[in-house]
């Protein structure tokens, strides 16, 4: 029965993604307006607090507000730096990592509504035969630090400075103001408020303009680049902090006799993680991995790449699975027999 419904891991993941898209974007409307208060902080994914129907609040708005209103204000007052101030912040971070502990970065690859929307946009791009831009190792290396800058500056730094009174209060939640998920998820509920830029002050206007431009860029880029925003998302770096501690892991066995380093897994990876093809062991489970499982699906060698939970394989690569999978969809994500244009290298005379 399950085999019929979900013949591939990819089909199973897509089903979960669609269900979670509805929970995170429309969950409040389906399960009751106040559901959001109960699930908030539990799902480490970009489910926007500005979405009036959402069933969950993204952890990042909580983090920013706590740094702004609690830690920052307490540091400014100095005398109030007590456990009473820090415990709620630690609790919210703790709840986040408790949930994250069990499912690891699968929240990115299976739950995040913005991730799902970007994947759907790429499918639209494929439908219109748009090319696929893959990042070579050099470009990937240059993009990777951006997500840490986003975390340190926009999620942690500026809200803390705003709370301390060093920066303007308008910088209390700067990441939310530039996050494309704020616009995407509210638009999905037919709410156009968030796409309208706030004009009250220069900072509001600047952040709004930046956020809208990023949103516009992402919408178009996602037609030709897999997961463009995920690559700089601060949740990816937040999750990466404790990635190695989780019992849910991507494992590539150190099997030189098996892995032919064919590179198919690299092509299948939507985050262009080249290490999955070239490295083994802990290095293969890179901080950018969203545990989507495509590398394991498209690995043609038995048992080389596995998704494990407490050491128990939930899914492992197999040659037979690979052969069946590749008949329907290429590693790059195109339905079989559809041509994916690969951009030519610059011509040399």
């Amino acid at each position: 029965m399950l085999k019929t419904l979900f013949p591939t891991l990819g089909r199973f993941r897509f089903t979960v993604q669609i269900i979670m898209l509805f929970v995170t974007v429309y969950g409040g409307a389906l399960l009751g307006s106040y559901t959001v208060d109960r699930i908030s902080q539990a799902l480490p994914s970009l489910s926007c607090a500005y979405d009036k129907m959402t069933g969950d609040h993204c952890i990042l708005i909580v983090n920013q507000h706590q740094l702004h209103h609690r830690v920052g204000e307490a540091l400014a007052n100095a005398k109030d730096i007590t456990l009473k101030v820090f415990i709620p912040t630690l609790m919210s971070v703790g709840i986040f990592f408790m949930f994250f502990f069990f499912l690891n970065k699968a929240f990115c690859g299976w739950v995040c509504p913005l991730g799902t929307v970007q994947e759907l946009l790429r499918k639209i791009g494929l439908f219109f035969n748009r090319p696929l831009h893959q990042f070579d190792p050099g470009n990937v290396g240059r993009v990777r630090p951006v997500k840490w800058m986003m975390l340190l500056v926009l999620v942690l730094g500026l809200p803390l400075l705003a709370g301390m009174g060093v920066a303007s209060n308008e910088l209390g939640d700067p990441f939310c103001q530039v996050c494309p998920s704020r616009i995407v998820t509210t638009l999905l509920t037919a709410d156009t408020e968030q796409i309208a830029v706030r004009t009250g002050t220069n900072i509001n206007f600047f952040l709004g303009a930046l956020g809208n431009a990023m949103f516009g860029f992402m919408i178009i880029a996602a037609l030709a680049v897999r997961q463009p925003f995920c690559r700089i998302c601060p949740l990816l770096s937040w999750n990466a902090l404790f990635q190695k501690l989780s019992p849910m892991k991507l494992v590539k066995v150190d099997a030189h006799e098996k892995c032919a380093k064919c590179g198919v897994c690299e092509n299948a990876c939507p985050m262009d993680i080249h290490e999955i093809g070239t490295e083994f062991g802990r290095k293969a489970f890179h901080e950018d991995c969203t545990l989507c499982g495509r590398c394991a699906e498209y690995c043609p060698d038995d048992g080389v790449i596995q998704i494990k939970f407490f050491g128990i394989p939930l899914f492992k690569s197999s040659r037979d699975y690979y052969k069946a999978r590749v008949k329907h969809e290429s590693p790059e994500g195109a339905p079989k027999k559809r041509v994916i244009p690969i951009l030519p290298k610059p011509a040399s005379n």
Partner: protein
């Protein structure tokens, strides 16, 4: 793309240097009818409860519930944590009002005051939200019968939301626990609007809050991050009913904000979105030489 992204992030940092140091906003204040400690203007004859906040920050914050147009010695405070011992507290009237201490569990609180004289019963009610952590679903607290004639928000705006002009909000009107059909409901606002509505067969009424804010040319510079909610006014809903020789008047008051698009520009928003789209447009270009290669690549992978 990398350079653009780095530039964008780096531009956000110096923005903080524009800072002045305005007072911080309070999330609890957004969804409750809180006011600062200043003399209120009389804008309605209906009974009101106004939670006033004092103290410079969260740790020394004090909430005082101030009655207007109602005489009472005791207030009732209901918490959404109904199973707790102090789910229902009675607050004595002091000099300035009744002090509402923050319970450990925080969350939504329904506040009511009752004045009974001979054959007249007047009830004022409002909601205060201690918004420092996610609250339990307050529906059961709202549905608990507290007085004969009641106005029950369905739902009350959750955290990060509030009543807003041009929005329609639903309320249930009931008497002795039974929905009241075709009951007149009066809405008055501190911006001098007055409207009347009728409940439907299930005792529910959708109240559309009028956009009665005066236009403001520019928001004050650096007045805090506000989620678009800085401007606010007060509203009160009131129902009256005569039953068994008694007249009952019940009011529910809260604050509300201007229209969602107040202080926002859809034109600028669409413009910058389009700009971003144009920036990514070159990625969609497909060159002729690219056509044939991938099929071969796929076939090769099948042969692996």
């Amino acid at each position: 793309m990398l350079r653009k992204a780095i530039c964008l992030v780096c531009l956000a940092l110096p923005a903080s240097l524009w800072a002045v140091m305005p007072p911080a906003h309070d999330h609890a204040a957004m969804t409750s009818g809180q006011v600062s400690m200043q003399q209120p203007r009389e804008w309605t004859a209906y009974p009101l409860l106004k939670p006033r906040m004092s103290g410079s920050n969260r740790t020394n914050q004090v909430i005082t519930v101030v009655p207007q147009n109602i005489v009472t010695a005791l207030f009732d405070a209901y918490s959404n944590n109904l199973q707790e011992a102090d789910a229902h507290r009675q607050l004595p009237m002091e000099m300035a009002g009744a002090r509402l201490d923050k319970p450990a569990t925080e969350g939504f609180h329904l506040l009511t005051a009752r004045e009974e004289q001979a054959d007249k019963v007047r009830v004022a009610s409002t909601v205060h939200f201690f918004g420092e952590r996610g609250a339990k679903n307050p529906t059961a607290m709202f549905m608990l019968q507290k007085n004969e004639l009641e106005i029950i928000p369905q739902p009350y705006p959750r955290e990060h939301s509030r009543y807003r002009a041009n929005g329609a909000w639903q309320f249930l009107v009931r008497f002795n626990g039974q929905p009241l059909a075709n009951q007149k409901v009066v809405l008055e606002t501190s911006n001098d609007s007055r409207q009347e509505f009728l409940t439907d067969a299930e005792g529910k009424v959708a109240v559309r809050i009028p956009d009665d804010f005066r236009p403001v040319a520019e928001q004050a510079q650096g007045a805090g991050h506000d989620h678009g909610m800085r401007r606010g006014a007060d509203l009160v809903l009131a129902v009256e009913r005569a039953e068994a020789g008694k007249t009952y008047l019940t009011a529910f008051n809260s604050s509300y904000g201007p229209d969602a698009f107040d202080g926002r520009s859809l034109g600028w928003g669409l413009g910058f979105t389009l700009l971003g789209m144009l920036g990514a447009a070159p990625l969609l270009r497909r060159k002729q030489k690219a056509e044939a290669a991938p099929v071969a690549a796929d076939d090769k992978k099948e042969e692996v």
